[in-house]
Symmetry: none
Subunit: 196 residues, 4 copies
DNA sequence: AATGAATGAGTATTCATTCAT
DNA sequence: CATGAATGAATACTCATTCAT
């Protein structure tokens, strides 16, 4: 049943987020999903493949956050991207916890794995953001001299790292007013923080 | 000898950056340092302690990037922070490679370890950046309505993620003109991208 | 399967008897039991736990040697205890070889381990022997002035050390006629060696 | 200096008694003796040799407990052997603690090691006891039918195990009145417990 | 004689993966 | 489809011993 596979994925995401890849045992995933260890191997060739499938699943979801209607203007587009992402964090906190683990990592990359998905998502995000910046230039909000590509990368990084901040605040009891912070980010990205 | 300990640290940083924590074997570190496995354990109680010492060492170096003279104005302060950091990346590429690993991680944290150092560095960075932003407000560059704290966090995140971009470009052959990108970041953070 | 666990216990007793605790490797136990090293750890958390289980098992068997019907008189009771024990040695030579190792030992004790079992067995043995001595006093065989408790301890020690002698004779080619020796012990304990 | 060697031996006896052979590290012995690890190896070829020397030293001391003047009668000889041994236990508690460790042992025996010393001591003890028993027979205290050899073994075992009891009582807080117990043992061995 | 830094062989334990039922 | 007993390769860590100083 495909339902079983989905249950395994969900459990894996939760556990990888809690304990990281290496600290999560296949047995843990099996227990959490309510199946036997052997069953996990009916649906996945290896533990790596479980991780890869988790990432593929979540990155494909995340990429929808960068689908913005053409008719929106610069500021509203920025607002929509930021709001979609903040909403997504709320609903997929485990995913971002997984991402924010960092450091004690492995370098093993697999075809469908992290790098591939990350890059796919990143490319989607920056190309989408580039269009939004072009809107800003056309609307006279942003100077013509800037490099839309580099600025897009910068905007995306700013958004992503702000999401990580939100996650950290949720988990580590950092004090951070999510809504105020979000508005500050939007304000910042739309140039609202600088005196004319 | 302290020289031996230092050689081990250097080797460990390189290897953790190359292969991540779990994929790096203690034997690898010993070989790379030109000592026997047992010798590593003369200087460190465990593999974890090696990682912790690496982080402590490098985070304490990195925190110097946020020491800015009071007499500099807003824009020059921003420029100095960004330039110091870009220079530091060039000279400590292994460290940033280590940081940019992400995902397949562990959650084990030790007292002197990652969280502690990360937070210490982050707090130093944001408090330093907050002062710079206050300069910006006093100079009339930044609106009085902004939250200096949130903006500081955002500025720091923007800088850090730009550094990660540079590292990725160096390693994965991403095409990125480091200098142009750096100028774009400075420009962005000092409000230069927006039309008056 | 419980059968596998039992096979492991039997092999462990044999090996601990042959080579002692430290000289017996977990791999040896696995080989001797015809299972893989990992399998041993399915049934036991650690090598210590194997030892503890061996001891628990064998001490509980040994304690049966001190179960004597109330209706037997003093001399017959002594005879029965001694004979049961000599028989037990014959059938569980490995166990006594394990006990007689001595000296190059460890001091690590675990809850269910040695001390606990030893004391339980010793208490069972002495309390049982105390009853037999009381029979001896009641029957006028033993003087009323003696301390039944101390005498019980002494009788038990005499029996146990005679068993160790038998084991040593079996293993190290000590010349010792088991039956004659046994009769001498019974004779000794029932006062038969002394002139009236 | 021979003084250093003696200090090492004393420390080793104490530590072996505390923690057993395997749990005592050569480093521990060095620390306890106030010398460097390397120095230990100036006086002993190996850790085994330290143990062997400890045993040799202590067994040779212990064998003096069985040197009894010919002119003493049976009962006084028994009393002297028992009293010497009880006194020796008091003064060399570490040695008996070492002996009473048992079980988690090793089987490695070395030339000068345990078996050799133990047997030497045991032979000295039993041959000495045999003479005492012959006195008993000559004095009409013990029946002529007994086997002096087997009885000697039994007497020695009774004494040795009573010493172990005393040690255990000292260490594990067992309640045992040492003097009463000693008198009971003497009484027992001289036939005083049985009604005529 | 004394030191203690360096060594590396040796081992308990873990856990992803398999496969007979 | 599902199971979970069995596997064994892989690895962090220990400690007796050596030897240059």
């Amino acid at each position: 049943m495909e339902q079983t596979k989905e249950r395994i994925i969900k459990s894996a995401i939760k556990l990888f987020a809690d304990k990281g890849f290496h600290e999560t045992k296949v047995e843990d995933i099996a227990l959490e999903s309510g199946v036997a260890k052997g069953t996990v191997y009916l649906y996945f060739k290896s533990k790596e493949e479980i991780m890869d499938t988790c990432l593929e699943f979540i990155f494909s979801e995340a990429s929808k956050n960068y689908e913005i209607p053409d008719e929106l203007n610069f500021s509203d587009s920025i607002r929509m991207v930021v709001e979609k992402n903040f909403k997504f964090v709320d609903e997929n906190i485990d995913f971002y916890r997984m991402l924010s683990k960092g450091i004690y990592s492995t370098s093993k990359d697999t075809k469908m794995g992290r790098r591939y998905c990350e890059r796919k998502l990143f490319e989607k995000a920056t190309s989408s953001m580039e269009k939004i910046i072009l809107k800003g230039i056309n609307e006279g909000k942003i100077k013509k001299e800037v490099s839309p590509k580099y600025l897009a990368v910068t905007f995306i990084n700013t958004i992503i790292s702000s999401l990580i901040m939100v996650v950290n605040s949720k988990i580590k009891g950092f004090e951070l007013n999510e809504n105020e912070y979000k508005e500050e980010i939007i304000n910042f990205l739309t140039g609202g923080i600088y005196e004319k």
